[in-house]
């Protein structure tokens, strides 16, 4: 009888749990729900294929992509990035000196949370900080050199699973929550949130472009977009998203962008790095 009672109370608690969880941030539960949402919505898409954005959504596009991948347009960026990586700064140091494992095969760990600073550090930010610490001027965050560097770093990390950590630091959890809020908040004259396009409508066409699923969208960065006729970084992608909703983009690497990249990368944990990517 006692046993039965306690079992009932455990069941009752379990039923109550989701309601209680509403107020308490739970990144692990978010991650699970996020991934399940996409898997359920797109039962035909192979799990690891979500990282290929619009190409995972449309057969005709997938074929064009396969043709492009035979000799992808980001090849030059990877090669330039490799060269930059091996070229020392004026002080003789290199990018390798700024990163764990000399910067090779570590893309999947970014963004990371810096507990000393209490902030999210993206790969792009870490690269410019590396430059500045070695007496070099920072690069433009949107394209060119920055995109080449991250293209090379992503290339050396291909197929490694995204592995973002949220340390038990209230500021890390706050950054994650802020990123999540940014992702779901409507903005711009079109009144779109990131989720309007990339959660509710992946695979559909907007302004003739096939929308990418939010799941794994960061795994493909940086990207060569035919629309840009060139490479663009995560910073560029986020700024473009904003301006397409007629919102004025924020400064590259502002807290909101860092946090939303943290959120989007974390919920894609376990999905492979596919960057650099090619996109329409």
């Amino acid at each position: 009888m006692v046993k039965a009672f306690s079992l009932a109370s455990i069941l009752a608690l379990a039923l109550l749990a989701p309601a209680l969880a509403d107020d308490k941030p739970d990144p692990a539960a978010d991650q699970k729900a996020f991934q399940e949402f996409f898997v359920k919505k797109f039962p035909k898409v192979k799990y690891d294929d979500f990282v290929n954005g619009p190409y995972s959504m449309d057969e005709g596009l997938h074929k064009q992509w396969e043709e492009k991948e035979q000799f992808p347009p980001y090849e030059f960026a990877v090669e330039t990035g490799k060269e930059m990586f091996s070229t020392p700064f004026k002080n003789g140091k290199t990018y390798a000196d700024c990163f764990p494992n000399k910067g090779i095969g570590i893309r999947q760990n970014y963004p990371t949370f810096d507990e000393k600073e209490g902030k999210v550090i993206t790969l792009e930010l870490a690269l410019n900080r590396c430059r500045e610490a070695n007496g070099e001027a920072p690069y433009n965050y949107l394209k060119d050199e920055m995109a080449s560097l991250t293209a090379y770093m992503a290339f050396t990390s291909r197929d490694k699973k995204m592995d973002i950590k949220i340390p038990s630091d209230p500021r890390a959890l706050e950054a994650y929550e802020n990123g999540k809020r940014y992702f779901y908040t409507r903005r711009g004259q079109l009144n779109f949130s990131c989720a309007t396009c990339h959660v509710q409508s992946p695979g559909e066409r907007i302004r003739s472009e096939v929308l990418a699923p939010a799941l794994g969208i960061m795994n493909a960065m940086p990207i060569y977009r035919s629309e840009w006729s060139g490479m663009g970084t995560t910073s560029r992608r986020l700024a473009t998203c904003n301006s397409q909703t007629r919102a004025v983009p924020l400064e590259p690497q502002s807290d909101e962008y860092r946090d939303v990249e943290y959120f989007l990368s974390y919920v894609a944990n376990g999905l492979p790095i596919s960057g650099p990517g090619a996109r329409p």
């Binding site: 539960a29 779901y184 903005r187 004259q189 779109f192 949130s193 919102a247 004025v248 924020l250 909101e256």
Partner: protein
């Protein structure tokens, strides 16, 4: 508030305030200051709209060319857009949760 509602609100604000006489520079300055103040508030909410910025620029350009009627019309549109963006940012403070995957 849907995108359409915001646009509609914008149109209503605009049509109600068309000046009847030729406007003066002082009228423009007042209209522009009001628009700028609203946009500043939108900026503090981290939610400026490109369209607001475009109207502000249009207003300035028209004023510089001495066309104060056009300048005031653009400034008022900018103010309406800025107010809509403020409304959006404020209401989204809680409403974003509706969209969340959970």
């Amino acid at each position: 508030m849907s995108a359409r509602n915001i646009v509609l609100a914008t149109v209503l604000v605009m049509t109600g305030t068309l000046p009847a006489r030729a406007a003066s520079e002082a009228d423009f300055k007042a209209a522009y200051a009001a628009a700028e103040a609203a946009e500043k508030q939108a900026d503090q909410l981290r939610n400026k709209w490109i369209t607001t910025e475009t109207e502000l620029a249009t207003a300035k350009k028209a004023a510089a060319a001495g066309d104060f009627d056009a300048a005031i019309a653009a400034a008022r549109e900018a103010e309406a857009l800025a107010n809509a963006s403020i409304y959006q940012a404020t209401s989204e403070k809680t409403r974003w949760k509706d969209m969340e995957i959970r």
